[in-house]
């Protein structure tokens, strides 16, 4: 077998999210909104298991693009609650479909007509989410937007994830909580990916 030109062990890409104005409701039926949490790709740059946020976004975007669907990214600033972030995104999405994501990696696919605390697919164990899973989450969200019936992404389960990662998850959540800007609405962001040798 051959090897890729550079190993993906060291992160090569970084992402900066530039705010471009208040997030508005999409009119395209073929778009999926990715809603990120207050500290995503800002205060934090990696998930709980050190998957770079740049890679998380790239894979989500790639999964959506591969299905021929458009994507838009927004940042929700006034809450760090995944259900609230995802539901906000879903109501702004032209297709009604949104992928919500927290800095530590916890992810959810939401639909605008669902109750806030419900969801289409939930990936609660952030330590088990890696790049291929994010790709499949993006692909599934896009297929829902197209009205197709994708197989739900298999949710992995690890009995040890909770004892092993709970403390770190709690700390990350506290930090994310500190980044909340109360009373400020969601903003549209533009991603800029850059290659960097150091990561």
């Amino acid at each position: 077998m051959t090897t890729p030109p550079t190993t993906s062990a060291q992160p090569r890409r970084t992402v900066t999210l530039t705010e471009t104005g208040p997030a508005t409701r999409g009119t395209r039926r073929d778009e999926v909104v990715i809603a990120v949490s207050p500290a995503f790709a800002g205060h934090f740059t990696r998930t709980i298991v050190d998957v770079p946020h740049a890679e998380v976004l790239r894979q989500l975007l790639a999964g959506i693009e591969e299905q021929g669907v458009a994507a838009r990214i927004i940042r929700v600033r006034d809450t760090a609650d995944l259900a609230a972030i995802s539901h906000t995104g879903a109501r702004l999405s032209g297709s009604g479909i949104c992928v919500g994501i927290l800095s530590r990696g916890t992810t959810m696919i939401h639909q605008k007509d669902l109750a806030r605390l419900s969801n289409l697919e939930l990936f609660p164990q952030s330590p088990l989410l890696d790049e291929p899973v994010f790709r499949r989450i993006g692909a599934n969200a896009a297929q829902y937007a197209k009205g197709e019936s994708p197989e739900p992404v298999p949710t992995r389960n690890d009995q040890m994830a909770r004892p092993r990662w709970q403390a770190k998850a709690a700390l990350l959540h506290l930090k994310e909580f500190e980044c909340i800007e109360p009373g400020r609405g969601p903003v549209e962001v533009q991603p800029a990916f850059e290659l960097s040798s150091t990561g």
Partner: protein, 620 residues
């Protein structure tokens, strides 16, 4: 009382001294245990008590409980694949990734992307990309090579990246992705990659002469590649690599011969000849005495399995064991079907629909242990019990209580294991037949053809109409009508094909579109019930002539199905037959025919034998 394969039905009636019957109440419940075994008692008692409760009577008022003489018919099923597709030397990738990239046809030599940097410009190249390559890197590498003058005409990828790569290329090329075993693609060989536009299928590689043109083949070689072309028909994308001896074969698996004995002769038929040939041979040896499979072959195994299951069933709880060799198979229904199977030698987990034959076999047994059930029911209720009446005759008698029916009447009892037909002529003569194959076989066909791997889901697909959930507030039914809801539907049914059960929509775990699921369901029902209805009626009809029948009444659980009665009625319409679902007693629908028939027979007998018979009697 009628104890059937899947339901136990009871009916309470009071009989006047002059023989007039007053029906008081009915009930039905699931049969407990295998029909004709002592396990039935629990279900029988439940049904009787239920019927009495509905009639507002007490058990003490019952004079007699009448039980049917259970038809000693048990059926079994087996299925065997008879074809197998094999790809040798990794010549073909015929899978259908949902999202290939670009469009058009690219013909060139296969080169790994790792060697693309050293590739000399000149001849056209098909780039092969192994696992681990990022889509951005792949696009950059290809663009750089194209910039140097290398003619990259197509690409084959391991990951699900085709659209991503195509979107990033300066000059778009056809790209086939999700080729899991991409490392097995032979390098340095001439290959062709074709991708069709969305909603279209490939034109060149699925055409033998297209392949001949692309690879410059002579007539002899063209004959050789025609299976490849056929295997690619209907795909949106494909890759064909020309190797010295690569091939796709469609092998028939030797499954052995079926030996059918009856009518004083013994005929042999190859099972891989298909269902039609088997059924035709079967028709020549009617009535069938026994069927055997060639020992040591698949069909031998199939029938042995059926026999073993039946020996177990009959020996269940009995003091003496039943010899397997004593069991004679009295009817066989063969149905052509297909099973999605992974192609041997395929590189991308290609799935081919392999032909298969499903066999339903029916065994007649000499021993019925209904007397044991009758004794137990008698103990349970503290009343006398009597076993009487041939099931077929009783069913006809019950069917005659359907409004608008007259002699001569034929009934079709569409059950779970067997389809039964009985005919009552104008003169009052009754004849009955049992043929193998009914509801269970339909479920099995749906299960295997949709690759559901779940009998429960297949059963639901069989029983309920389909719909597609288009949003949380509306569904589109299989006939195209849209239904809206005030309350949102549950999230797990969103965007899925569902069956509309009485408990609401239940998702069907399949990637197939609604239309495909519907077609499979209807075909399975047609191949079993319509074929069997015609076959069974021919056997009871005078001179095997369907036109000699006037009224056909459909009975049994499958007569409650939402489309089977219509399909049978359609099939019989040409013979000028009045056909419809029975409505026993004018209220019970296709249920309770045998139990009602038993009461009628008892009433007629009691008037004839003892003119001042006491009331009330009970059939339950």
């Amino acid at each position: 009382m009628d104890i059937g394969n899947s339901t136990t039905e009871a009916c309470v009636a009071a009989i006047d001294p002059d023989g007039t019957v007053h029906y008081l109440g009915t009930d039905l419940t699931h049969t407990t245990g295998v029909k004709g075994t002592p396990d039935n008692t629990a279900g029988a008692l439940t049904a009787v008590r239920g019927a009495l409760h509905r009639a507002g009577r007490r058990a003490g008022e019952v004079t007699t409980v009448l039980l049917n003489e259970a038809t000693p018919v048990i059926s079994g099923l087996a299925m065997e694949t008879i074809t197998e597709t094999i790809i040798t030397e990794s010549t073909m990738i015929g899978h259908n990734p949902t999202t290939p990239g670009g469009t058009g046809l690219g013909v060139g030599t296969t080169v790994s992307i790792d060697d693309l940097a050293e590739q000399e410009p000149g001849s056209p190249v098909v780039c092969v990309v192994p696992h681990g390559w990022d889509f951005d890197d792949t696009a950059t590498a290809v663009d750089r090579a194209v910039g140097r003058g290398v003619d990259v005409v197509a690409a084959v990828l391991a990951g699900d990246d085709a659209v991503l790569v195509t979107n990033r290329l300066t000059v778009p090329i056809p790209v086939v992705d999700e080729v899991a075993a991409v490392e097995k693609v032979p390098l340095g060989m001439l290959a062709a990659v074709e991708v069709a536009a969305p909603g279209r299928t490939i034109r060149t590689l699925s055409n033998s002469y297209g392949l001949a043109t692309v690879f410059g083949l002579d007539p002899d070689q063209t004959r050789h590649v025609s299976p490849v072309a056929r295997a690619l028909t209907g795909n949106r994308s494909a890759v064909v690599v020309r190797t010295p001896s690569g091939d796709v074969t469609d092998r028939r698996i030797p499954v052995g011969e079926l030996v059918l004995r009856g009518a004083g002769k013994s005929l042999r038929v190859d099972v891989d000849a298909g269902a039609d040939a088997i059924m035709e041979t079967l028709a020549r040896v009617q009535p069938l005495d026994d069927a055997h499979g060639e020992p040591g072959t698949h069909v031998g195994g199939m029938l042995a399995q059926v026999r073993d299951t039946m020996a177990d069933t009959m020996a269940d709880g009995a003091a003496d064991l039943v010899e397997v060799s004593d069991i004679a198979i009295r009817d066989v229904l063969a149905v052509d079907t297909f099973v999605p199977a992974e192609v041997r030698g395929g590189l991308a987990g290609e799935v081919a629909l392999e032909n298969a034959v499903a066999l339903a076999a029916m065994v007649r047994t000499s021993r019925s242990r209904m007397q044991l059930v009758a004794d137990l029911v008698s103990d349970g209720l503290g009343t006398a019990t009597a076993i009487g009446g041939i099931e077929g005759e009783m069913a006809v008698s019950g069917a005659l209580t359907t409004p608008g029916v007259d002699r001569p009447v034929a009934v079709l009892d569409l059950g779970g294991g067997s389809t039964d037909a009985a005919l009552l002529t104008r003169e009052g003569e009754c004849s009955a037949v049992h043929v193998a194959g009914a509801g269970e076989l339909v479920t099995k066909l749906i299960d295997s053809e949709l690759a559901l791997g779940d009998r429960e889901v297949a059963e639901a697909v069989k029983r309920y109409p389909l719909a597609k959930v288009e949003s949380f507030f509306h569904i589109r039914h299989e006939d195209g009508t849209v239904q809206f809801f005030d309350e949102p539907l549950p999230p797990q049914v969103f965007a899925r094909v569902v069956v509309l059960t009485s408990d609401g929509p239940v998702p069907v775990p399949t990637r197939h579109a609604l239309d495909h699921v519907r077609r499979v369901r209807r075909e399975a029902k047609r191949r079993v019930f319509v074929v069997n209805a015609v076959r069974a009626l021919r056997q009871v009809a005078p001179g095997a002539n369907l036109r000699a029948l006037d009224f056909v009444v459909l009975l049994g659980g499958s007569a409650l199905d939402f489309e089977i009665p219509d399909m049978i009625a359609d099939a019989l319409a040409g013979s000028g037959i009045v056909c419809g679902t029975g409505n026993v007693l004018g209220t019970e629908g296709p249920r309770n025919a045998v139990a009602s028939g038993l009461v009628r027979a008892y009433a007629a007998d009691s008037v004839a034998a003892v003119p001042d018979a006491p009331a009330p009697g009970l059939a339950g």
